[in-house]
């Protein structure tokens, strides 16, 4: 009975993974085909295998720098988001204070407007601050939706830790920073890992703000990719190749946080 249950899970997992990977495989497939072949024939594997699209990306400075730019502002944003979110989440989780529930919900409301609404005001704001076309501008703009998310996720995980742990640590003589860093954060590893990954991910794929606030120096990869539509039609192959390459940094991030996400709640002897 247990064996059968176990098998059903494996079958379900494999079915889902197939469902998830097929479009990705198709994208990889497309990235090695010429545009003509993409639009004319149905083939499971490129009939005329070509690395032209990848070469275009690796040799064209704007593509290459697009990746670097994206990585820079996404990294800045993720770090800031986590740094401000951790103490705030702790406050919401452990204390009760004037207006706490309202602020908590207000945070989420910042994610409830289509970003298009903010384009013009952001443009004006960052122009005034003389921060246009900088990595920091995009990093700051993305705080709008990443910080509330990070706070919500971290708060949820923090609330799962009984307050007795905090109290026992204080009785044992731990200062608050030491307790927070050496005891508390390891306990909420899974939440930190997930929050970090989501901040990275949402910032990485955000297009409208990133495109509006940058022009040359900080142009991210997502904006560069929209250049693939030209007078001669869409450059499907290059787009597919770029798509494949955008997965790589994210896959690396998830690889790094995998232990955080998969680590259990090891409630050892306190």
């Amino acid at each position: 009975m247990d064996e059968r249950r176990f098998k059903k899970r494996i079958v379900f997992l494999i079915l889902y993974l197939v469902f998830a990977i097929l479009p990705v495989y198709w994208m990889i497939n497309m990235s090695f085909k010429t545009n003509e072949e993409i639009l004319s024939t149905f083939s499971l594997w490129p009939q005329h295998f070509t690395t032209d699209h990848y070469r275009t990306i690796f040799t064209d400075v704007s593509w290459y720098s697009g990746y670097i730019n994206s990585i820079i502002y996404v990294a800045i944003n993720t770090v800031i988001s986590l740094l401000v979110a951790l103490p705030a989440a702790y406050a919401f989780s452990r204390y009760s204070f004037l207006g706490d529930k309202h602020v908590f919900f207000w945070l989420l409301t910042n994610r409830m407007t289509p970003p298009a609404v903010f384009l013009l005001p952001f443009f004006q704001l960052y122009t005034t601050l003389d921060l246009m076309d900088t990595h920091i501008a995009v990093a700051l703009a993305h705080l709008l939706f990443n910080v509330p998310l990070a706070v919500w996720i971290l708060e949820g995980f923090m609330s799962g830790i009984p307050r007795e742990i905090d109290e026992t640590a204080y009785i044992d003589g731990y200062s608050f920073p030491r307790f927070f860093l050496t005891i508390f954060i390891p306990l909420i590893k899974a939440g930190v890992g997930v929050a970090a990954f989501f901040c990275f991910m949402f910032s990485w794929v955000e297009l409208l703000m990133a495109r509006t606030l940058t022009s040359v120096n900080a142009k991210p990869i997502v904006a560069v990719m929209t250049r693939t539509v030209s007078a001669s039609g869409m450059d499907w192959g290059v787009l597919a190749a770029a798509g494949v390459l955008t997965i790589v940094p994210g896959a690396i991030v998830i690889w790094f946080v995998r232990h955080y996400i998969a680590k259990g709640f090891a409630m050892g002897r306190v």
Partner: protein, 294 residues
């Protein structure tokens, strides 16, 4: 329950600064526009609630709104259970766990316009894998010609794209359950279903709330993927609220009504989320560590 401590405000001050900086100023601008008729950059006339009234009376808006609500509810109905099921079946330890984690997360990392573009080809019966497969199976599949097919394709694409978000949240949430609970359940003779119902699901309440609210909000604002895939068609079968708003603002270059509509849009989402949030809080319980904010 939770001790009262007003000094906690210092801990959340950085967060408020970051978010308010990004939110309040633009919001004020939007409110400003929504009550003016901007005929040209120099000539503006204050018109009060004129735009709000005309927006609410628009029939196309009502159509888009209903389509949007049905879509968002469908998204939740499919992605939440599927995500939970996926999280339960993902291995917890070892190299397999890491491999599955990466494979599952891939669809989240692809820029949304690329998602739409790839599915465009993917769904074509002549040059795409899925389209060709449907054709082979005998379906007269066409996401450009058939409204229902278009709708289902957009939904399928969203499920493919975003279920991993739910799954990752639930996966992390499951890892946070101490072994002792499973041991106690084993000692109590609980069935696998009882373990799910009485231990796993209650402990996932926190992350599920985040997942539901996130997916609801994001699907309600969905723009790029359906726009790239179907352009809103056939007809306006897949024209959801966001696209409708953009058409109004960009197409007709009417900043006033567009701003008014943005505010209404925001308020609709706010209202629905508020209801969802409070309903989920009430369904949940408070426990000793003061987890609920009910």
């Amino acid at each position: 329950m939770k001790p009262v401590n007003q000094k906690a405000w210092f801990l959340i001050l950085p967060v408020i600064l970051c978010v308010a900086f990004s939110a309040i100023l633009p919001l004020m601008t939007v409110v400003n526009y929504s009550v003016q008729d901007i005929i040209s950059p120099e000539r503006r006339v204050f018109v009060g609630t004129e735009w709000f009234k005309s927006v609410m009376r628009d029939e196309d808006l009502q159509g888009a709104l209903i389509r949007q609500i049905v879509f968002s509810l469908s998204v939740l109905a499919v992605e939440i259970p599927l995500g939970i099921a996926l999280a339960l079946s993902m291995p917890a330890k070892g190299w397999k766990s890491s491999a599955v984690l990466v494979l599952v997360a891939i669809s989240l990392l692809i820029p949304w316009n690329v998602v739409g573009t790839i599915w465009q080809i993917y769904g074509r019966t002549d040059i795409g894998l899925m389209g060709a497969a449907f054709a082979k199976l005998g379906f007269d599949y066409s996401y450009t010609g058939n409204a229902t097919h278009a709708w289902l394709t957009v939904l399928l694409m969203d499920v493919w794209h975003w279920t991993p978000l739910v799954a990752l949240l639930c996966f992390a949430g499951l890892r946070a359950i101490p072994d002792a609970y499973y041991q106690a359940a084993s000692i109590d003779g609980a069935s696998k279903f009882a373990v799910f119902r009485f231990i796993q699901l209650p402990k996932l309440r926190g992350v599920l709330m985040i997942a539901v609210l996130l997916r609801f909000m994001d699907s309600f604002m969905i723009y790029t993927e359906p726009f790239v895939l179907t352009g809103g068609g056939p007809g306006n079968a897949t024209t959801f609220l966001s696209q409708y708003l953009t058409q109004k603002a960009v197409g007709q270059f009417d900043l006033g009504p567009a701003a008014a509509f943005s505010l209404i849009y925001f308020l609709i989402i706010l209202l629905l989320c508020f209801i969802l949030y409070n309903w989920m809080q009430r369904v949940g319980t408070t426990d000793e560590s003061g987890a609920a904010h009910g």
